[in-house]
Structures are given as structure tokens and as C-alpha cells.
Symmetry: C2
Subunit: 230 residues, 2 copies
């Protein structure tokens, strides 16, 4: 006699759904009944169902019961990587090059975007990331010196702001946007592609307790890939 674990319960529920026995929108048996049916404790059923909710397969409401989602929310997720590690994982040597580093008062467009007080000092960094000899990413980053004062004394000559920030500054919220843009002559030169080439662009903003930490625009020479399962 093998014990029924929460993984078994998940598998069972999923197979019932795929076999259309528990159709989208229908209500599953309650936890107590299912536990009796499958021969395990209620907590085991509970954990299985909780994870399936987390995976976007089920919906639960007290008193109303557990239902199969009609439009299962499939979630693609991916890690925000450290560029160096991402490149080295491909086997290519990583190279970093600081293009510009200067401190200035936040320009208006940045202030309004990040909701910064006027006269906020920011650190503006522009740099390149290479995989072997090939351009990989151009990074255009703004760091709020009110939130990260220690950035003022760091020179970023050999360590990129991406990696430094990940290790140095915790954050509580983040926002990520993907877009496509035509390369300006400057970006094209950095990435060594023809002007006007479509460039994959990612914009990231991060906050620590409602205070903006940093805003970055990243121009890639290659695509983003992500995988979702189940």
C-alpha cells in the first residue's frame, strides 16, 4: 500500500480535469470528501489544491467550494538575471565596459516617471555588456541617490550597476516592460547593428518601500525566452 501524497492528489485532479470529468467551471468535491475518496488526510488535499490555485488551475472560495477555472491563467515566469551569469552560462566570457558615469539633478521626464521630489540627485550610468567579442546589451541606468547614497562613491568601472545593485540593495517591488524599438544611430553603434534595426528593449523600475531605487532601459541584441509549464 503506497501512501497518497499531495503530488499524487495534484496529478489525480489534473487528470480528472484533462479527462473532462471535472469540466471547466464545475465544482470539485470538498476537501473532506476528497480526502475520504483518495484515502489521505484533509491537509494533504488542502496543500494540493492550494498549489493548483497558485498555478492558476483552480479557484477556491469559502462556502462556495473549489471550481475548475474556465480560463486557466497560465503564468509564464522568469528570473531577473544577473547579466554576467546569464552570459557565462552560455559558455562565453563576459566583458563589461563603462561608457559614462555622472551625477546630476533628475531630469523632468525621470522625476515624473518615478515620482521623485524636485532636485533629487541621480546617478546616470551607461554601459555595455559583451559575450566574448559580441555586443550583448546596452544598459542605460538611473539610480536615485536619495535611496542609494552609497552608489555615489562607487565607480562602476569594473562591476556593472546591475550586478552591484542586486547584491547591494534590496527592493520590495519591481516593474518590468518589454517593447521593440528602432535603433537610434547611437544604440546601433553600441550594439553593432545597422541603424533602425528592431531592438528588443526592456525597462525595469524597482522600489524599496515606496521609494524608487532605480530605473533602467536595457537594449538587447537578442530575444527573450521564457517557458511556462503545466
Amino acid at each position: 500500500m503506497i501512501r497518497t501524497g499531495y503530488q499524487d492528489v495534484k496529478t489525480h485532479i489534473l487528470s480528472q480535469i484533462r479527462a473532462n470529468i471535472w469540466a471547466p467551471g464545475s465544482t470539485l468535491p470538498n476537501e473532506v470528501d476528497l480526502a475520504a475518496t483518495l484515502g489521505c488526510a484533509r491537509a494533504t488535499i488542502s496543500r494540493a489544491m492550494r498549489e493548483l490555485v497558485d498555478e492558476g488551475i483552480l479557484e477556491r472560495k469559502r462556502k462556495a467550494g473549489t471550481k475548475v477555472k474556465t480560463n486557466p491563467t497560465r503564468r509564464a515566469q522568469f528570473a531577473i538575471p544577473i547579466i554576467r551569469e546569464e552570459i557565462e552560462k552560455t559558455g562565453a566570457p563576459y566583458r563589461y565596459d563603462l561608457v559614462e558615469r555622472r551625477i546630476l539633478a533628475a531630469p523632468d521626464w525621470l522625476r515624473s516617471r518615478l515620482d521623485l521630489p524636485s532636485k533629487t540627485q541621480v546617478l546616470h550610468i551607461r554601459c555595455m555588456h559583451y559575450a566574448a567579442q559580441n555586443p550583448y546589451q546596452f544598459e542605460d541606468r538611473w539610480i536615485n541617490l536619495d535611496a542609494v547614497p552609497q552608489a555615489e562613491t562607487f565607480d562602476f568601472k569594473s562591476l556593472g550597476p546591475n550586478e552591484w545593485l542586486v547584491k547591494e540593495v534590496p527592493f520590495t517591488d519591481g516593474n518590468l516592460e518589454f517593447s521593440a524599438s528602432n535603433a537610434t544611430s547611437e544604440i546601433a553603434a553600441f550594439l553593432q547593428v545597422p541603424e533602425n534595426t528592431a531592438v528588443f528593449t526592456s525597462e525595469r523600475t524597482t522600489w524599496l518601500n515606496n521609494q524608487n531605487v532605480t530605473y533602467a532601459r536595457l537594449y538587447f541584441t537578442r530575444d527573450y525566452k521564457m517557458t511556462t509549464q503545466l
Copy 2:
């Protein structure tokens, strides 16, 4: 006396980390000790830690203990939407237009990409999605008729393949790629943008138990946005 719940435990652990008491890379107390310290059951600690692992904050290994991740893996996630719902959520009326629908033997590039047997019949659909009068997305989709035979008799004249598939065909795995491409004259015409404009492109492939179901290339007139928390 308030009971210590797993949420309290999570909060406590996070605050210890943010206060640098449990620094990145350091080892946390084991579950039994922490339970004694915080005055709750071991299972409560366990659940809190499990969720923090899931959120990319902690790393756990048997015998080695629980450590604070040096490079916290922040995960962005987003739902794969039904286009109609996505558009209607913005308040704009949704319009769908079928451009082309034909059945043919899978071309070689598709066969190799999806690992289809030779002579597999596929349904090729090209269609447009509009938000009010504005082009929103051009969809270029291939459906494996071996996996989804019922698509052969559906005309897709008033319902798009995206929505039909989500409701009709379950899948077990999916793959998603984002990229930027320069609009060909044809794509440009559909999206009503100048030729060569950078277009945000998403490619999706889905499988049901190791058999490919569909492959789609989606050309957007606008960007993708996603948000990550914690």
C-alpha cells in the same frame, strides 16, 4: 496573546533579512529552533520557508539547512491572456477579422521546429485583432491537425483561434519567446505602421503530452508589460 501564523513568520524572516541580521548567504536557524523561538509549530515555520523559497528569497537543502539567497531570484510572471478580454478590459470594443484559413502539409521549417512527422496536416490561420478601429495584433498561427482534428471543421470566421484553442484544447506545456523584428511590408500594412517599424513579436508553442498542438507568431502594435512583486 496572538497566535504566530505563517504570515507572521514570513514577515519576521524578511525583516531579519532586510535588517541584515540574516545576511545573504548566511544560514538560518533550523525549523525546530525557529519554531521554539517564535512560539509556533514546526509546520508553520515550514510553510513560511517553503513559500519564501518559492518567492526566490531562500534556498533550502536537507542537512545543509536554510540559507538566504545571495542573488535573490526575482520572478516576473504574467498571465497568457485571451486577446478579446485583454482589449475589452481597456474599454475598447474588440473586432476580429479572419484573413486566411487553409489546410496544408506542414512546411519543412515548421516540421523541424515542432518535431512533426512528415506529411502532417496543419491548419494555417492568419487573422487580425482590433481595438476599436486600431490594429492591435496580427496573428499567424499553425495548428497541428493530428493533435486537434476538430479544428478542421471549425471555420474561425467569427471566433479567433486564440480564444477557440484556450477553451477547447488543454495543454500541458508551453513555450514563449519575445523578440523585436522589423515589420515586413505585409505586416506593416496589417498593423498600419510604416514599413520597417520595430514590431514587438511573441512566439508561442504549446504541447499536450509531448505532442505539439499549435505554434503562433503574434505581432503587436504595442508593448508588453508585466509586474513583479516582493
